[in-house]
């Protein structure tokens, strides 16, 4: 069985590129880089076909025993089931497309080999993360993707601010990782195993619904998920992470790595099911994040920052879906989101590159005719993001979440309202971006026009975005449940609240209207009457800058955590404790000076000392 080859190939690619990167001829670099991931993708297809056609619920392969101490025995072993198959499909296939795109996008960069090495390493780590059969190996992948994210955000290392963004991303996600680690420690303490399947089996056996341990553990796991997936309150790193090259943003910060949190929660859904309170918190985090990030996206100038906030917001949807136990809906949205967000980022990258690295949307405009392929694919992606009804994949995936957030067993009217508000805002900012970039008059002359290498991935992704939606259709039209059936062995279906089913079409109608009205609003403000937008902006300048800064979270953390820590460590740079020992030295020196004073060198003085000593001794003897 060649399961292990899937992560091993990109690792091999990375190794070759790191070690021989400098010596390799330039045209060979993308071939190795994309080729290794392409092979993985092909293997994934082959394996996926075998998996679907076979009756086994999972494939399992153990490469070697990693550690074995007294019951703690994580192995380097891979476990393929429906859930991980979806993930590795997205990772390898979208990853491959992005590699192909990067082959042209990065061609003039000095660090061409380095870039592909990092990307390959990332793919390997991400595959390890989703294929791991135990939590420790998953943690390896988990941290590995963090490392690659750090390296790729800081890829253009000469800029100080890129380095800062990279470190911020690493450190903030590490805060979440620690929480995940605690969760693992507690799991091990409870069950003496960290094998995912065994943990799931034991959890179901030993815990009852609402168990306190389950609650604590699931909250700790959630902490990890929140950090990696840039959800409240650890979302601040993602907008800054856009300092990396656009393909990186597409692969890591949109399609794959940031959804690791979704994967984690889906993977441990057994534990979460046992802790309804934790699930509720997941839902609340998702709901709040999607609304907050949506409003923040409304005010951004930077094209990529809009997409970053939009990613946060869309992952918020996935969390919301997880929170209402709509597991397969979350995964479905993950997949569709991976397609259209990767598409949007790649297209944005093409736009930015053709405008000489101009990120500000207000300086773009009128690109509709200059970059037709980019325009059309971007439009398809944007439509999907805004969930325009019927024709886009995004509509079907998001609609399912909207519906289940109300009608699911754990659904709630507030969840639904938040999702609805989010949908409206999404549609507004998406088309604001669309209109500002591609419509209106041309503000910056177009330089480089993307070639075939960049266009083909865009087109493939655009097709996927559209087609992907049709594998899971709601009851009201078609009722195709291919995707959720596929996941059913792993992820249980949603239990519906009673007497709700008849409303489904109503909800869909509302969602569709909201999305369309969002487009309308965007049209009104940015095409029809652009002055109105400025007026609105100046009338609520404070709110605007508040949203622009992402609700002030950066400032808050800066004041609350970063500055005090930096201040304290700088104050203590020379180590207070050392002063203590220095004071011992000072006292010794001081005593030395005092005692030296008594050594006058005069003989009679010493005799005097003897006499005084004699007197005292005698007096002592007499008393």
């Amino acid at each position: 069985m060649s399961l292990w080859l899937i992560p091993a190939l990109p690792l091999l690619g990375a190794f070759v590129l790191i070690v021989f990167g400098q010596q390799l001829p330039k045209r060979l670099i993308p071939i190795i880089g994309s080729g290794s991931v392409g092979l993985s993708a092909a293997l994934t297809f082959a394996l996926g076909y075998r998996f679907i056609s076979s009756s086994a619920s999972s494939f399992h392969i153990k490469a070697w025993q990693w550690m074995d101490i007294n019951g703690f025995s994580p192995a380097v072993a891979f476990h393929l089931d429906a859930l991980s198959l979806v993930f590795i499909f997205v990772i390898t296939f979208v990853g491959f497309l992005i590699h192909v795109y990067s082959a042209e996008f990065m061609v003039h960069d000095d660090g061409y080999a380095r870039f592909f090495a990092y990307l390959n390493l990332f793919v390997c780590s991400m595959l390890t993360l989703v294929l791991a059969d135990n939590f420790v190996l998953m943690y390896l992948g988990w941290e590995g993707v963090g490392l690659c994210s750090y390296l790729l955000i800081g890829f253009w290392y000469a800029e100080e601010k890129n380095g800062y963004a990279a470190r911020k991303a690493f450190i903030v996600t590490r805060v979440g990782d620690i929480s995940l680690a605690f969760g693992l420690f507690m799991l091990f303490q409870q069950f003496h195993t960290l094998n995912i399947q065994e943990v799931a089996a034991q959890a179901a056996q030993h815990w009852t619904v609402g168990s306190e341990t389950a609650l604590i553990i699931s909250l700790l796991l959630l902490g990890g998920a929140v950090g990696k997936s840039a959800q409240l309150p650890l979302q601040t790193w993602l907008p800054d992470a856009m300092a990396g090259p656009s393909p990186v943003s597409a692969l890591i910060h949109a399609a794959t790595m940031v959804t690791a949190g979704v994967y984690l929660i889906a993977r441990t859904h057994v534990i979460f099911e046992l802790a309804p309170d934790a699930l509720m918190i997941v839902g609340i985090i998702g709901a709040v994040t999607l609304v907050l990030a949506g409003f923040a996206a409304l005010t951004q100038f930077d094209l990529k920052r809009v997409l970053a906030y939009s990613t946060i917001s869309q992952i918020g949807y996935m969390f919301l879906a997880l929170g209402v136990s709509a597991w397969s809906a979350a995964i479905f949205h993950f997949m569709i989101h991976a397609f259209f967000k990767a598409l949007l980022f790649l297209a944005a990258g093409a736009v930015i590159e053709s405008l000489h690295h101009e990120h500000d949307m207000f300086k773009m405009g009128g690109l509709k005719n200059k970059l037709p392929v980019v325009y059309w694919t971007f439009l398809i992606g944007a439509g999907s993001l805004a969930a325009l009804p019927l024709i886009t994949g995004g509509f079907y995936s998001k609609d399912q979440i909207l519906w289940l957030s109300l009608a699911g067993e754990h659904g709630h009217i507030w969840f639904f309202l938040a999702a609805l508000v989010g949908a409206f805002v999404t549609s507004v900012y998406t088309f604001r971006m669309m209109f500002l970039t591609f419509f209106g008059k041309e503000n910056t002359p177009v330089g480089h026009v993307p070639g075939k290498g960049m266009n083909i991935p865009l087109i493939v992704l655009a097709i996927l975005t559209t087609v992907g939606g049709f594998i899971e259709l709601p009851h009201t039209f078609g009722h195709v449940t291919f995707f959720s059936d596929f996941l059913k062995p792993i992820l249980p279906a949603v239990t519906m609240q009673e007497e709700m089913e008849s409303f489904e079409w109503l909800i869909q109608l509302v969602a569709a209207l909201v999305a369309l009205s969002g487009v309308g609003v965007a049209y009104y403000f940015f095409i029809y009457k652009p002055d109105q937008a400025d007026e609105l902006k100046s009338s609520a300048a404070d709110l605007h800058s508040f949203w622009l800064s992402g609700w002030g979270f950066d400032k808050l953390y800066d004041k609350l955590v970063v500055q005090p820590y930096v201040y304290l460590s700088n104050v203590n740079k020379n180590d207070v404790i050392d002063k203590l020992y220095e004071s011992v030295v000072t006292v010794a020196n001081w005593l030395n000076r005092i005692l030296a004073y008594t050594q006058s060198g005069i003989l009679r003085w010493y005799i005097m000392g003897i006499v005084i000593g004699g007197i005292l001794l005698m007096a002592l003897a007499l008393i």
């Binding site: 703690f72 420790v136 000469a158 470190r167 450190i171 820590y565 700088n570």
Partner: protein, 496 residues
């Protein structure tokens, strides 16, 4: 006999290297290198042939029989690993000084090999008197290494190092003598033999004091936080090989002492102390990390990271379970390699730009990408990236200490976040950012690559296949926890 050979080869090699230096400097270097290679291959062959027994080799002849002193050496899994590590790092110690040391070359190599001999002795000896002897043997050449070939503030650093270790070593001597007399009054025969002293029944009050004596020497060496201040000075002032050996091996003798002597000899007293010791460990982790974050001297920064990492050792030792103990052993090895490598990088940079100030560096990646990759790997090791050895160590330690004391483990794990902060700061200030200076920055030479590639291979090997190491120490740890089990459980309940 082979155990004596380990030490004797180093000592003779040292003397020959000293003499040879009067002919030619490079002869001295080659002799040291060959000496270490011989010892290393011997140690490896012992490792290959070792069975699963607790004691692989033993050797003992009476020395001063009237006082029960014997020249007693013994090798178990832990000693073996430490010994292999000693010779392994020793080789790199010679290699990094190849160009750096140009004055009194012979005496330098003599001191280098004798430090290593002392360290090997410490790891091998099973007689407390002999242990103290080797403890001192290891101290004096190190003092010379710092004091003669160090940087600008070498005298101060050497004195500080000497006074701290010597003062705490004397406390240990007192404790050794105390133990001797307690055993003598119990059994009628006085002995310094470790195996005979093991089961000594000591009244708890006495045992507390004796343990503190041992502890003093070990936690100063380790170092644990209020006693750590010698370390940044010694590390930053020592020549590269000195820093490498200090960080890689000398600190480990403290950890080794904790595992070998403090816990087995005084089980009850150390169980009593455990929560406080763990607390000190946690304080060390956070305090060291915070100081490391503020430093601008590269070697000083790395030195403080040692303080932080060694906090995990004491945390793990006093967690009293197998996982944590395995983690501690891993930590000893991996920290030696990763920190040693970082010091070597600092040395390599110092040879090129003659400064250790990270504010004067920046953007070296463009000029020296190979060095950048090497540094990246070891920086990642120091922040505990999975796949590298340090992760195994820290994860095992934490998962073990979680069973003993979750609250402290939470704080210890915060140290991992702070470790991220300071580690990335190294990377940022040195290799990323803009190229500032006009100085030439050649990439690593062949000799330097020869230093770093084996280190990289080892750290990755330890990260992916730690089971070899785990199996080697397993008999020793199993044995220890057969004795420890009841007290440790009691302790756990008490702490929680």
């Amino acid at each position: 006999m082979i155990l004596v050979a380990f030490i004797a080869i180093l000592m003779t090699g040292g003397i020959i290297a000293w003499i040879a230096a009067s002919w030619s400097h490079s002869a001295s270097r080659w002799i040291s290198l060959v000496t270490l290679l011989v010892d290393f291959s011997l140690a490896i062959s012992v490792w290959m042939n070792s069975s699963g027994l607790e004691w692989i080799e033993k050797f003992s002849v009476p020395w001063v029989p009237d006082f029960g002193i014997s020249f007693s050496l013994a090798l178990d899994g832990l000693s073996l690993l430490m010994l292999v590590l000693t010779f392994f790092l020793g080789i790199f110690g010679v290699l990094v000084s190849w160009n750096e040391i140009q004055e009194r070359v012979g005496f330098f190599h003599f001191n280098l090999l004798w430090v290593l001999a002392g360290i090997s002795g410490v790891f091998l000896t099973m007689d407390l008197f002999l242990f103290y002897f080797f403890w001192e043997v290891m101290l004096i050449p190190m003092y010379f290494l710092i004091g003669i070939w160090g940087h600008e503030n070498k005298r101060y650093a050497a004195f500080k190092f000497f006074i701290f270790t010597q003062a705490s070593g004397l406390l240990m001597l007192l404790a050794i003598l105390g133990l001797y007399f307690v055993h003598k009054s119990n059994s009628g025969t006085g002995t310094f033999d470790y195996f005979q002293l093991l089961g000594t029944q000591i009244p708890l009050g006495t045992s507390r004091w004796l343990m503190l004596g041992f502890l003093a020497a070990f936690i100063v060496k380790l170092p644990v936080v209020p006693f750590h201040t010698w370390l940044p000075d010694a590390h930053s002032q020592a020549p590269t090989a000195g820093s490498l050996i200090l960080a890689g091996l000398l600190l480990k003798t403290g950890a080794y002492g904790l595992i070998r002597f403090v816990v087995p000899l005084f089980p009850e007293a150390s169980a009593e102390l455990a929560p406080w010791a763990m607390l000190l460990g946690v304080v060390g982790i956070l305090y060291g990390a915070s100081l490391a974050f503020a430093q601008t001297d590269l070697k000083r920064l790395v030195a403080y990271t040692s303080v932080s990492h060694m906090g995990f050792v004491i945390l793990g030792v006093f967690a009293f379970n197998q996982l944590a103990m395995q983690g501690v052993v891993m930590q000893m090895i991996t920290h030696a390699i990763s920190t040693g490598a970082l010091f070597a990088i600092a040395g390599v940079l110092y040879e090129r730009i003659h400064t250790r100030d990270i504010l004067a560096m920046g953007g070296f990646w463009g000029k020296a990408p190979f060095m950048g990759v090497v540094t990246l790997i070891f920086v990642m090791a120091s922040l505990g990236l999975p796949g590298l050895g340090n992760f195994v160590a820290e994860f095992l330690t934490l998962i073990g200490s979680w069973q003993a004391n979750p609250m402290l483990t939470i704080f210890a794990a915060i140290g991992i976040v702070t470790a991220t902060a300071y580690s990335l700061r190294i990377m940022q200030k040195v290799f990323l950012g803009k190229w500032q200076s006009e100085k030439a920055m050649p990439d690593l030479s062949l000799r330097e690559k020869l230093i770093f590639i084996p280190l990289i291979v080892t750290i990755i090997w330890l990260g992916l296949f730690p089971q070899t190491v785990i199996n080697t120490v397993k008999p020793m740890i199993d044995k220890q926890f057969k004795i420890e089990q009841p007290t440790s459980i009691q302790n756990n309940n008490g702490v929680q």
